[in-house]
Symmetry: D3
């Protein structure tokens, strides 16, 4: 632990690379954990599979 | 909040469009929430990745 | 399937009773599924364990 | 119930077939449940979408 | 990885102790993984927070 | 979106307060998102409900 699952729209590997580094640093600084203890999973969700306010995101585009 | 995650077999966008509307209405009516407060995620799972009774769904077809 | 997981603030059993009925009806109408196929899980989250905009909900009260 | 969600790297259907049988047997033996009560979902995650120690798995290959 | 999340009714620590051993063995045998690679989380759900067929489990008791 | 769910051992509100701020900042910097777009859920798990290497964490204490 901790296991972090992020539900989000698809994004580039560059952005994800940068994000996981910052999130892992946040855990190591605040919880004083070794970086290897932290695992991060991206559950990427297309806009056909995500809705807000009763409307699919793909229908808002 | 509320965040709704639905694990299900893949379905058409028409069905998902209709479903998210009805589910969002259920929340707004019962919880008296604004529709924008409700997010719905479909975690679509192929039949090779879902098992019931110890058997993959794809092996039951 | 479908398995529905709802992350939300704690609410009364009366509200949850009403909500699960409406959500299940949405699935049976739209997906033409028998009600028994639908399972709903409430993952109730206290305001100390939920943050939006970088602030714990309990700190906004 | 029980609903089992497994976040893992992609694997062959043969391995998943064998795994779901063993996991379902574990539940039926220990919890004395009928096999049909147990559902298993594989949430397969590519190495671009999984990080450990602040590094994407795809960057460790 | 793999990370296993089990949504279930509350059960005794003895049963959970036995179950996690059997599930971990299933992974090590089938996936040829070291046991330490497998993490299991119980997301225990009370019967007021779980519904099937549109009815809360606590209302079926 | 993004919705972040963190499975972890129970921790103090002070640590969680600090962590959610840092994680939200990571998203706003890297994804150029407004802070209000990010929601974080702690799924706190007691050591009786988490196992690694086939052993409950509470049995390792």
């Amino acid at each position: 632990m901790p296991i972090v699952t992020i539900q989000q729209s698809p994004r580039s590997i560059e952005l994800k690379r940068e994000l996981v580094e910052k999130i892992t640093n946040a855990f190591t600084e605040v919880y004083q954990l070794p970086p290897e203890a932290i695992q991060i999973f991206f559950a990427e969700t297309s806009h056909e599979n995500w809705a807000k306010g009763g409307v699919l995101a793909s229908d808002r585009e």
